[in-house]
Subunit: 372 residues, 2 copies
């Protein structure tokens, strides 16, 4: 479990903004903007809070020459690398490279002519930037869709198989164009809206190559279902050490970052603020205001992503004592409405009403800040 | 992937409320109440909406003789089986069985005396009801916590190893007491708040027994993080065919049911209303009100869990055409604010503003109801 798949290392960006993708490095968290890239002001207004929230690489859509030209101004203000997302027009890839994109994402289902791909790969080689081969189950190569090999007996598509084929074909083509492996460093992604197709394809790609892999479930939907579907695709791969960068494709880019870190934190792959372990409450709990306390602490900790640790909020002693022994800060509610507080597994004090929520918040923050 | 682990089948409850747990049956969704079980009115008020939402088995805390006695009245009104959760007092297990509990959950970390366990197992055998052996990382047997075999070199605990040992010891003890395997049908669970410990332990239990397994990450926390941590524990197991019943241990029991079904739906393991596939929007999208439409459809579909299908809401044609071909109902927004509508992969019509959200909601509902 969690033993990282060994990959080639890929550097993105130059100087202080350089980030590395691959098995020697922490799994990188990225997001994509929703603005018109040509609107530099709006785009920067969206990216800056993302950088503060822990976004380590940002992707922007390049649909027009104005979008490509905006990259020069945007990258000037960024502390993280920028990826230009190209869909149909290879000229925009060349322009994005000219204007300083740190990486190009090419969808081999949309730009399929070898001559066009040659131009892009050669330009990336000339300025020494990496490319992402970004396969998407919603925009596959037409010849694969037409190929009976990839149809099921009931007339459906074998999406995973098509995605793997398209990705490996694209790898071979780029290596052939630039004259070998690693001359243009590659990151691979195969995304689908069906998490099962996505994870099957990624297990296959992981076995067949040693390029780093970017993980994501595409068009995941919104909020709860978007997060669940993303987890369905990502978790089994991460648990088996596959994945070097991730994006959670839900609506709000800030939520993408938060969900990505929480996914990685759940396996201890990245640190991210304070994790709250909290019982769902049941008939065993007395008068302790556990739900209200948890909401308050969630708010406080979301402003203090610099803090580290786990805090266990338990409504009764049944599992409370065991949990409190395992975490930095433990709390067990009592029937009277008071709470027993544990520091690093040792019972430290009892906090009594009134104003018990305020008192606990202050105590927990002081403890986690190292002041207690 | 998804090939179900073969298990013994366990029936819970009698007559029309009987449910079966095991590899011959769909993965069962359960929840636990948060009320004082002795308060029959409050407890029923919580369970009835859960049954309507798809809860297939309900667990209640039994802490007092009054809680145990309330089971008779509660089960009279239920259409699903009831599990009595026993923690420290074996007398309450006997009383819960006497008052008609359909299944007993025994935590072998809390009731450890063989004589007491004998009484419970014998009572279960007499009335022919199954037991769940419910191990929890927060309430493990003291002798395991004291055993140097389960300490790491840095002084921490090997939670997964302790949970597996406690569970298998408990299985052996029950089989010994009742005189063999299957005489009291067992369901096993090993839950921890650390999803990695939980999933490691479950992979191990799955290899070593053929009893059905109930999956859950305990004390998952609230909402987003609770769902992510639950997914971290559940998804890799479900993807490998392990798990016969699940509970998502987040705060609100109704949310537990919804999240559980969405988790199972993401792999196609259970059906649950209409799934919305939706792009996260990016700089490629024009004036189409995709986010607002998705919110509206989410609301409508949450009231219509009887409907089936997938609906793809895409902001632009890049992946939109491919997605629309794969789902029951597809929509691609245009720069002008209109939308192209696909029925079963075929372009059906274009819907234009004004009132485009209302028009699409009506069209989608009619299509999914089979009226179009």
């Amino acid at each position: 479990m969690l033993k990282r798949r060994q990959t080639i290392q890929v550097a993105v960006g130059k100087g202080i903004k350089q980030k590395c993708i691959g098995s020697d490095h922490p799994i990188l968290v990225q997001a994509m903007t929703t603005t018109q890239t040509s609107d530099v002001w709006e785009t920067m207004n969206q990216i800056m809070p993302l950088e503060n929230a822990g976004c380590e690489m940002i992707r922007v859509a390049v649909q027009t020459p104005e979008d490509a030209r905006a990259i020069r101004e945007i990258t000037r203000h960024l502390t993280i690398p920028l990826v230009a997302d190209i869909h149909f027009n290879p000229q925009l890839a060349l322009l994005a490279i000219e204007y300083g994109a740190d990486k190009i994402r090419w969808n081999p289902g949309n730009i399929t002519k070898t001559e066009m791909i040659k131009d892009i790969a050669q330009a990336a080689k000339d300025v020494k930037i990496p490319m992402r081969i970004g396969v998407n189950g919603g925009s596959l190569r037409k010849d694969l869709l037409d190929n009976p090999e990839f149809r099921t007996s009931s007339g459906g598509y074998k999406t995973a198989g098509m995605m793997v084929r398209e990705c490996l074909d694209a790898v071979a083509l780029i290596e052939d164009i630039v004259g070998g492996k690693g001359i243009v460093p590659l990151v691979l992604s195969v995304k689908a809206s069906d998490p099962l197709a996505m994870l099957t394809a990624n297990f296959d790609i992981a076995r067949q190559t040693d390029y780093p892999i970017h993980l994501g479930v595409t068009e995941a939907g919104s909020d709860e279902d978007g997060i669940i579907v993303s987890c369905a695709g990502l978790m089994p791969l991460l648990a088996y050490g596959i994945g070097d960068t991730i994006r959670v494709s839900i609506k709000d880019p800030l939520k993408q970052i938060r969900a990505a870190y929480r996914i990685l934190r759940s396996y201890g792959l990245r640190e991210y603020g304070v994790r709250i372990i909290s019982c769902p409450t049941c008939g065993r709990m007395g008068n302790f205001p556990l739900t209200e306390l948890e909401q308050r602490l969630n708010e406080e900790f979301s402003k203090r992503l610099d803090l580290r640790g786990t805090i266990a909020l338990m409504g009764c002693p049944v599992n409370g004592i065991g949990e409190s022994n395992q975490h930095s800060y433990g709390l067990i509610g009592s029937h009277t409405g008071a709470a027993d507080i544990y520091y690093n597994g040792n019972k430290e004090k009892r906090i009594e009403p009134p104003d018990i929520i305020d008192k606990i918040v202050v105590d927990a923050l002081e403890f986690l800040e190292g002041k207690s």
